[in-house]
């Protein structure tokens, strides 16, 4: 009997301790992201952008009349720690759990949120698994699928640059890289006169891609465009070696190569294109994006280093809208509101969520072209049709 009483007391204590913030009548956003380790460099910028949106909302009177409170836990760039960090922010009453940018590192915390019946958002994961398919019905990603990047670049180059012959060069290191090339593979048959003249793979940490370059050079004619599916740090090395070998073809890549911080490795780079959700170079067609860049600099002391800061802002934006519409933070109702969003305008392109997909299988992209080492917005492109969910899942 005494044991029962003790247990009951303990349970009450745990319950009290577990929900201190709800009593304080705040809405809690929990960041289970990397504050240390190598993911920190990728999580922090997007998280800073999310904080800017949270500040804006709080200054404008809050959400449902309540202030948004932020709690954090460090995943230490470790998958086991990720699950713990997820639990830690849930224990502090998080209504929204924000998880690491990368699917593999964010999933452990997102699964905890799913198990606890809370909405979770990947900061910028671009795999179809970052959502219903990999985590569950309460999981979302704030970015756009990698496949859309490959599909956008090839369709844009075909229509706007007259590219007809394509070469596909895949860095087999990550699922993200494969995603870009999957999108390219899906798009290519839709482009009537386009022809794949060759295909090859390399690994991100290959000391040299000389033999891959030899293969491109042995083609009878230089391809119009090289669809390069890769990411940092091997991406710079690959582009540098391709250009050093005298190959002048247009190079297309995913958003992972946005940013000017690496351009001094290839000072005179030209004919190089990537898709971005917003421009960090101060020339975004939407003046509000340029205003955001200024705000970001005021808040963090530095300009955004790549477009990957933007999804953090989008995430809070769409979630807060869904909460306003649902008039509650209850996960089921918020998810229902999110799933009603169809081309919901945000600062960084429209967002659509459905019952099948909590990610973007179509999206507006700005095209950044680099000419003589200077990147700038050269165009804008939205793929003509959505990439089917079945295709994405089958890959």
């Amino acid at each position: 009997m005494r044991v029962m009483k003790l247990a009951g007391g303990l349970a009450a204590l745990v319950a009290l301790w577990g929900t201190p913030s709800q009593a304080a009548d705040d809405i809690v956003v929990g960041f289970a992201t990397a504050a240390s380790g190598f993911m920190q460099a990728y999580d922090k910028p997007a998280q800073d952008a999310a904080m800017i949106r949270i500040d804006e909302i709080n200054k404008a009177g809050g959400l449902l009349g309540k202030k948004i409170k932020v709690v954090t836990a460090d995943t230490k760039t470790d998958q086991a720690e990720g699950a713990k960090a997820g639990l830690a922010v849930l224990d502090q009453g998080a209504d929204l759990v924000v998880v690491s940018c990368d699917y593999d590192f964010g999933a452990p915390a997102a699964l905890q949120a799913q198990a606890a019946g809370k909405v979770s958002f990947f900061l910028c994961a671009e795999s179809v698994k970052a959502g219903i398919q990999g985590v569950g019905p309460y999981s979302f990603s704030a970015s756009v699928l990698a496949a859309v990047q490959g599909a956008s670049m090839s369709e844009w180059a075909y229509n706007k640059k007259g590219a007809r012959t394509f070469y596909r060069l895949l860095d087999s290191w990550t699922v993200y890289n494969k995603g870009i090339c999957d999108g390219f593979d899906w798009q290519l048959p839709n482009l009537k006169e386009a022809k794949l003249v060759g295909s090859d793979t390399f690994k991100n940490d290959d000391a040299s891609i000389a033999s891959q370059i030899t293969r491109i050079k042995s083609l009878p004619k230089e391809p119009d465009a090289i669809m390069l599916c890769t990411m940092m740090p091997g991406a710079v090395s690959a582009v540098k070696q391709i250009r050093a070998a005298g190959i002048k073809s247009m190079i297309l890549n995913g958003s992972s190569m946005d940013g000017s911080y690496w351009l001094n490795a290839i000072p005179d780079l030209s004919n190089f294109y990537v898709p971005v959700q917003g421009s960090i170079y101060g020339d975004d067609p939407n003046p509000k994006v340029n205003e955001f860049n200024k705000k970001y600099k005021e808040a963090t002391g530095a300009d955004p280093s790549s477009q990957y800061v933007y999804p953090g802002y989008v995430m809070i934006d769409v979630w807060a809208k869904a909460v306003e519409r649902a008039k509650t933070t209850d996960a089921e109702k918020v998810v229902a509101e999110l799933e009603k969003m169809n081309s919901e305008p945000t600062l960084f392109g429209p967002r659509t969520f459905t019952k099948e997909l909590h990610h973007q299988n179509q999206g507006r992209y700005l095209i950044i072209g680099t000419d003589n080492g200077k990147p700038k917005v050269v165009d804008e492109w939205t793929i003509s049709s959505k990439i089917p969910v079945d295709y994405l899942v089958s890959k």
Binding site: Q40, T201, S211, P233, S237, A244, Y261, N264
Partner: protein
């Protein structure tokens, strides 16, 4: 024909890089029975030594701006200094420990160094331009080869020649070979153990710096994990070359480089993703046929 020549040059240049790495590991293994798994981190450290510590996305190039006649010796000195320091601070204390313990210690050292770099420079890769003219292609017998490949091959051959001369013709070289053959006996016969070991570490560190320079010139990137791949393959090269055999390690380094390039050039596209599986498959076959390695020295047999 030109295509074949191109492949030969690709293989030679990649092989050179692996051979330099294998040499750095084999030298230390020879005198100390230590497989230095921190070697890859020495490579990364030397590259980062050219940058000013900062966690900004854009790199602040510091020593990397020096003229090459100053930069190259400086980096070799950094590599040698770091390597010697690691011997004095860490490995000396494990001199009589068994090889497995020393190996764990080298893992720990590498881990500490990697995180030290992470702290100073963050995990974002940094960009650096070294000798852009080395990227320009030269024409040799109809094949267009980037200058850097030629330079890599030449440097490797020069280093190998110099090291052979040093090992065969100088007193220190003799002592080092004696120490590699039988360390205890060499000491009894008056070989200065600390001197020989420090010297081996210094050369190994300089080799790491040389690899770092080549990698940085080729890729334009400094990344905290950049040495890991070369280190792993160099280690495998020392094993299939026959642990303890310096020429064996070098030959095996060239062999693995060649195998990797040939598989990349000849495998069908679907199988190319698994290139490394084929390379390591070949390594397993070699070890099944010759478990002691291709060029196992007599001294590798269990000492009594």
């Amino acid at each position: 024909m030109t295509g074949l020549l191109q492949i030969v040059f690709d293989a030679l240049s990649l092989g050179s890089l692996y051979a330099l790495g294998a040499l750095g590991i084999a030298l230390i293994f020879g005198v100390m029975r230590l497989v230095n798994f921190a070697h890859g981190d020495f490579i990364a450290f030397c590259v980062f030594a050219m940058l000013w510590p900062s966690t900004n996305a854009a790199a602040i190039v510091f020593a990397g701006n020096l003229p090459s006649w100053l930069l190259v010796p400086l980096l070799l000195l950094v590599g040698a200094g770091l390597s010697v320091l690691s011997e004095i601070i860490v490995f000396r204390r494990f001199r009589n420990a068994n090889p497995a313990t020393m190996m764990i210690a080298s893992f720990a050292l590498g881990f500490a160094m990697r995180n030290f770099l992470l702290m100073l420079y963050s995990s974002r890769p940094k960009s650096i331009t070294l000798w852009p003219t080395l990227g320009l292609p030269v024409e040799i017998l109809g094949a267009r080869i980037p200058m850097l490949q030629v330079v890599t091959i030449v440097i490797t051959l020069v280093v190998l020649a110099a090291l052979t001369l040093f090992l065969k013709r100088t007193r220190y070289g003799l002592e080092m070979r004696a120490a590699a053959e039988n360390f205890t006996m060499a000491r009894m016969l008056g070989v200065r153990a600390n001197g020989v070991i420090l010297f081996a570490f210094a050369i190994s560190g300089m080799l790491a710096a040389a690899i770092g320079l080549i990698l940085a010139t080729n890729s334009g990137t400094a990344d905290i994990n950049m040495g890991a791949n070369v280190m792993l393959i160099a280690f495998i090269a020392t094993v299939i070359g026959g642990l303890g055999s310096v020429p064996g390690a070098v030959a095996a380094g060239f062999l693995i480089g060649a195998a990797s390039v040939i598989f990349q050039a000849t495998l069908p596209n679907e199988a190319r993703v698994f290139r490394d599986s084929f390379v390591y498959g070949a390594v397993i076959i070699v070890l099944l046929v010759r478990p002691q390695g291709l060029f196992a020295p007599k001294s590798a047999k269990q000492r009594v």
